[in-house]
Structure formats: C-alpha cells, structure tokens
Symmetry: C2
Subunit: 120 residues, 2 copies
Amino acid sequence: MTDSRETGLTLDPKWGADGLITALVTDGDSGEVLMLAHMNAEALAATVDGGEAVFWSRSRGELWRKGATSGNVMRVRDIRIDCDQDAVWLIVDPAGPACHTGEQSCFYRRVTKDGLERLE
Amino acid sequence: MTDSRETGLTLDPKWGADGLITALVTDGDSGEVLMLAHMNAEALAATVDGGEAVFWSRSRGELWRKGATSGNVMRVRDIRIDCDQDAVWLIVDPAGPACHTGEQSCFYRRVTKDGLERLE
C-alpha cells in the first residue's frame, strides 16, 4: 500500500529493478554531503545492524564495506528514509576522506553558468 | 576521459541510460536533506540558468518546476556536482515543505533496528 509505505512506520524499501535504493551520506559535524551510493537489502541490513556504512558497489557487483581497504570507515549516527522509501540518508562520522579522489566530499566542485569551479 | 570528468572543470554529466542524473536537495539554513529527485539535461540547464530548482518527473514523464503548482519553489543558493558527475547537490532556500506529504523534508522518519520512527 502506497499510504503505508509513505506514512507508516514499517520499513518497506522500494527496491529498484536493479534491487537497489539510493543512499546519500552527510557528515554529522559539518552537515556537508559527502557522497551518494547505493544499497541492496543486504547492505542496508548490515548498516542498520553494524553501525558502519555498507553499500552495494554497482561497478564491482559486490557488497562494499566503506573503508574496508582505505580505512576510511563511516560510523553511522543516524539513518533516515524518504517518503517513498527509495532513498536513505546516513548521518555519519567519517574516519577520512569520503571520495576516492582524496577529497573530503565527492561534491568538491561547484556548477556555474560558466562550467565547474573547485571549492576552496 | 574519466580523469577529466572526475577532476576537471568541464561540466560533463554522466547521464544514465534513462538520460537522468540524481539531484539531492538540502536546506541552506538548516542543512537538512529535503528531498532526492532526478534531472535530465533540460532540467539541469533550467536550474543553472533560472536559479530555481527544476527536476524531471519520472512518474509523469515531464519537466517538473518544483513549486509550480504548490508554490513551494526552491531558490537555489549553490549547486555542487560529484566526482563522477552523475549526481548534483542543490543548496536551496525552500518556500515551503519539500515533501508532498506536507513534511518539511521527505526524510522525516528514522530507520532503527525495530522499524521506523517519526522524527519529532
């Protein structure tokens, strides 16, 4: 039922055709958006149960425990879900840069009418 | 070139097979994540040029000027794009609730081990 999913208190994620929902991550201190990734049911359950961010890597086709290789784990303070339950918002304490480029956040460039600008 | 897209200063969105990228929206004052939506090239251009959030409605299959019917437009303070340019982050001043349920944010429920909780 749409109403239940949108206003109820039952976790009922609306998995996409690929079995995924979107996961966005913000820094619990700065509030900055750090990254956007995806979760399957296993990743969401692992994140809720374990308290550290676990995603599904679409490029590698496998569960992705954030920081497993880099050490930059993300301790989860809070998890929110949106009205139609196809996106979750993780509020985290990151142990290091979120982005594989080495930037603190993946969103390190501004979009302007004249192209992109690197943020200071 | 992947390197250019990931580290360069040329706007080169990585449109999905559906012609869309993800757009997440935060409140410029509170920092709260308000909603997650999608943009096609026209929506992104309209947002950059016009200074108000324009999305692509996947359900209606049409351009969606946020607030066109509700009046709850989102004035855009800043736009960021992520490393692989398949997601943008809009920092906005919302004129009213972002969510069609009437909640300020679509992310108005917390995910816990025991289900969902409505935020105060």
